[in-house]
Amino acid sequence: MSEGLLRLHSLGEAALVCELPAPATLAQQQRIWALAAEALRWRGVLEALPGMNNLSLLFDPSRIDLVELEMQVLSAWPQLSAAGIEGRRVEIPVAYGGESGPDLAEVARHTGLSPAEVVKRHSAGDYVVYLLGFLPGFAFMGGLAPELATPRRKEPRVAVPARSVGIGGEQTGIYPLVSPGGWQLIGRTSLDMFDPGAAEPTRLRPGDRVRFVVESMEA
């Protein structure tokens, strides 16, 4: 395969970062998930952590040598295809605007759309979970309509309420827990995104396809 030249960097003596050239695309990300699944079968690989357009492999250097791991990655990579990774479909009900989404008006002002139009376009999107990071169960998703992109708040909030749905730059996402955060909050879901006691502690996984469903809307 000609595209997708993989660059490898050490992250300390027990982790290897595999990085693709920008820009991040869904097709590249799908091959990263495939590499993650493949690498977890190798001796000495402990964890495979997808980033945006990259993958970190944590390994036990007493069981696999760095050079050996690099060779395995480079020989596996051309064989991997983006096909075959079919994420689940997940619907997220959202109460848009009002107290649940105090920045809906700001997003409307920035985009030049009415609040109702922002909600309509946000809930019309097909989103894909590229990775989880930042907080347990926090999904970095691709698929936000470009016209909805809104810069982060100048003053981040000290405590964003759990389950808030926000827009930060060209991304949209859901805060699983109360946390400091700078995204523009447009709504809130009633679903828990993280439950440490559950068999599957996070509602979303890399590869999932997400739709936001309008539960209610307050301008």
Binding site: H9, S10, L11, G12, E13, A14, A15, V17, E19, A22, A24, A36, L46, E47, A48, L49, P50, G51, M52, N53, N54, L55, S56, L58, D60, P61, S62, R63, L66, L131, L132, G133, F134, L135, P136, G137, F138, F140, P176, L177, S179, F194, P196, G197, P201, T202, R205, P206
Partner: protein, 346 residues
Amino acid sequence: MAASAGLTILRPGMLASVQDLGRPGHRQLGICPGGALDTLALTLANRLVGNPDGAAGLELTMGGCEVRFEAATRIAIAGDDFGATLDGVPMWPYWSMPVGAGQVFRLAGANRSPLKAGLRTWLAVAGGIDVPVILGSRSTDLKAGFGGHQGRALKKGDRLLLGAAALDAQQLARRPFGVRGPDAGLDRDRTTVLRVMPGPEFGQFTIASREALWGGSWRLTPQSNRMGSRLEGVELKRWRAVDMLSSGVIPGTIQVPPSGQPIILMGDAQTTGGYPRIGVVIRADLWKLAQAPLNGRLRLQQVDSADALAAWDERRRYLAQVAQGLASAGWLAPAQNPAQGVPDAD
């Protein structure tokens, strides 16, 4: 022996939490490994009270802590001693001490001596702290609010149960004994030296900044916590500010935010980050950082992967020596605990 006896937190000090060797294996869900910031200290303290390496203990910050035990047991501390006493009798780090019912363990405040400085102490109790295992660990995830005791830092009046001790009554009561601590060769009053491998974005920094990273003297600022140790020194600059996409970070990763002042990520740090990673502290030196005093000086020394692996081997050899010493003194061989994450013991 059923889990019954417990302990009560009379004073937690600045930050006290239940920690074991952490919760690796869930990073792809955004869940940090957490656990004792100094896994070597917790491992040693556990072995001294006959526990498996991965038993849960208490991580105490800057002294000022008091704990009362309900029944006879055995304890050990590791890390800084903060003038530790048991019912007023001084005790040392890396010593195994019998405890009588009702006795009080106490760490003095942080300012008891300008000549000594440290940051954290780990306390192990025979049987371990018995809190529910969540996602393979008893560690407290303070940021996400789960694990440990009710998912939070310990408060005055909290009562914690202990697991069944591996020791019998005679062993519990045995006279105190100790092992040589890993910091025997460490000069606590001077600069802490951390060995660092260049990180993935090392090459993006200017030559002057790269030289400053190794050549500079860094101050550990009081804004440091379980998520990150914040350093202050020369401003580190890149050739040009290219935006980075989110990428994996691990404890020891040295991130450089736009301020140019590096942050060394600790056990509770997030799993992915968007700041350039100029370096990574090797695994064998993370414990030194966990114990480095606030406002103390740090120096970063460039090493390569072979050096890092040799340093890790040295740590394993030290732990093996401790195990052998304990066994030859008639103490229990350290039991492995496969039910818990043992990220260090390979």
